[in-house]
Symmetry: D2
Subunit: 149 residues, 4 copies
Amino acid sequence: MPARISRRRVRVEFGDCDPAQIAYYPNLIAWIDHSTHHLFESVGFPVRDLQASRGIQVPVVGLNVRFHSPATWGDEIDVDSHIVRWGSKSFDVQHRITNVTTGDAVAEATETRVCVKLDPNHPKKLVSQVVPDDMRLAFARGDAFTTVI
Amino acid sequence: MPARISRRRVRVEFGDCDPAQIAYYPNLIAWIDHSTHHLFESVGFPVRDLQASRGIQVPVVGLNVRFHSPATWGDEIDVDSHIVRWGSKSFDVQHRITNVTTGDAVAEATETRVCVKLDPNHPKKLVSQVVPDDMRLAFARGDAFTTVI
Amino acid sequence: MPARISRRRVRVEFGDCDPAQIAYYPNLIAWIDHSTHHLFESVGFPVRDLQASRGIQVPVVGLNVRFHSPATWGDEIDVDSHIVRWGSKSFDVQHRITNVTTGDAVAEATETRVCVKLDPNHPKKLVSQVVPDDMRLAFARGDAFTTVI
Amino acid sequence: MPARISRRRVRVEFGDCDPAQIAYYPNLIAWIDHSTHHLFESVGFPVRDLQASRGIQVPVVGLNVRFHSPATWGDEIDVDSHIVRWGSKSFDVQHRITNVTTGDAVAEATETRVCVKLDPNHPKKLVSQVVPDDMRLAFARGDAFTTVI
């Protein structure tokens, strides 16, 4: 059963590139983060609401990226993202970035994120949370099709 | 009576520069913003505490910049910042950026900032506030010398 | 005769916002810069080609911004940009940013840019250039309509 | 034989943080990249000169990060970087980020970088290069002590 994929197109701008004329690689990481947010929205679970209504945040604890080819200003890239693993308190989001202009693979990345909440007794301390059932279900309902944002 | 000046040194990094090999100009604006925060800290009024204890924020409502010469990666620049105007509900911060490596003037900027607070009856609406007396006094006490952070 | 306007829509992302929950203001400046690049493309004069084929760059020498209201993550904003002044060696680009989600004006900005070229005898030194006729004409041809990118 | 470590201190600014009040994680990646540049400078092989004099670039092809705890605005962090592997055409840079303010480990990262050069017959195509002997030697000479930049 294929997982729900969220696709987000980004135009690489002059200001996104470095003196080597290519997209500065930390910007690719920002686009990956944006895409995770889009993925959550696409199933009706915006991270913003998760924080506002339940105090749950989903910070990144692990990141693994392979860079295959650069993208340069004027190029358009697609970031395709989906959940590849659900743990009890964590999950993995996989991202594939393709250069639409050249057809080349740009990068593949996996983010590991955890569900956390502020400890009511220790402000500034975070405690891990079980992945909410309705969140996991929202993704299950969404599968087998692709959303383009 | 000279105003208190806060000086902050920034090293221009490869990743701060654009394909024209110079510091991408929106990054200079970020360094200006950082320097205003440092200026407030240097007189014992961190913006962070102002928000936490009194709910007062000091957003930028006006920005005027002249760019004189570029800075490039490897260069060190100094951002010198001080208050040039106190209004009843607003104030102006002036910034001079100098390229320490070349001796050239990089830019001059003036930010106009206002004191605001969230409207208790309309979350998301901001209402302007009178500049707190002790904030203004903190800057008065601090004048005639320079802090290097 | 109305000038050619280039419109570019930006979605404000979580990562574009600061701890005050609003778009970090230097990011608005980056979006303004991106929009100038889009404006040039919309009349068939990509800044990239200008640099590659004629060695002409169009750096910003002046920037004036009024911020009217904040944008926050999840909001969509439109950046409308057009040339408001042609000088012999410089020109002004005006930008209006509107929050499409709320209908509010976000900011108005004017960039002053100059045409420059590397001095062949002094690498690293830039010399100002007359605005190329065909560049100015490209904008004249394009007027009276709006391009949405 | 311990490898040469370059240490770089970064103050986390308001503008480096996201709506969750912590350093936006792609900014940590930018600081890692900056630190690799500093490491190269500390042994007398600035990446800038490598590019200018030999046309060799050292782009990132792999990135692996574990995030242990967040850093917030006002915190100071140290990025300690050193080479942990030399391959024939690639090398790994390891980074440890520590929160100086709290004493906590912030993140550990490994970048894999390759030596590449533009293909003279195919502009825009990169060909991998053997790691230059003098580059590797520069790091060998530098070992057993720490440079603080």
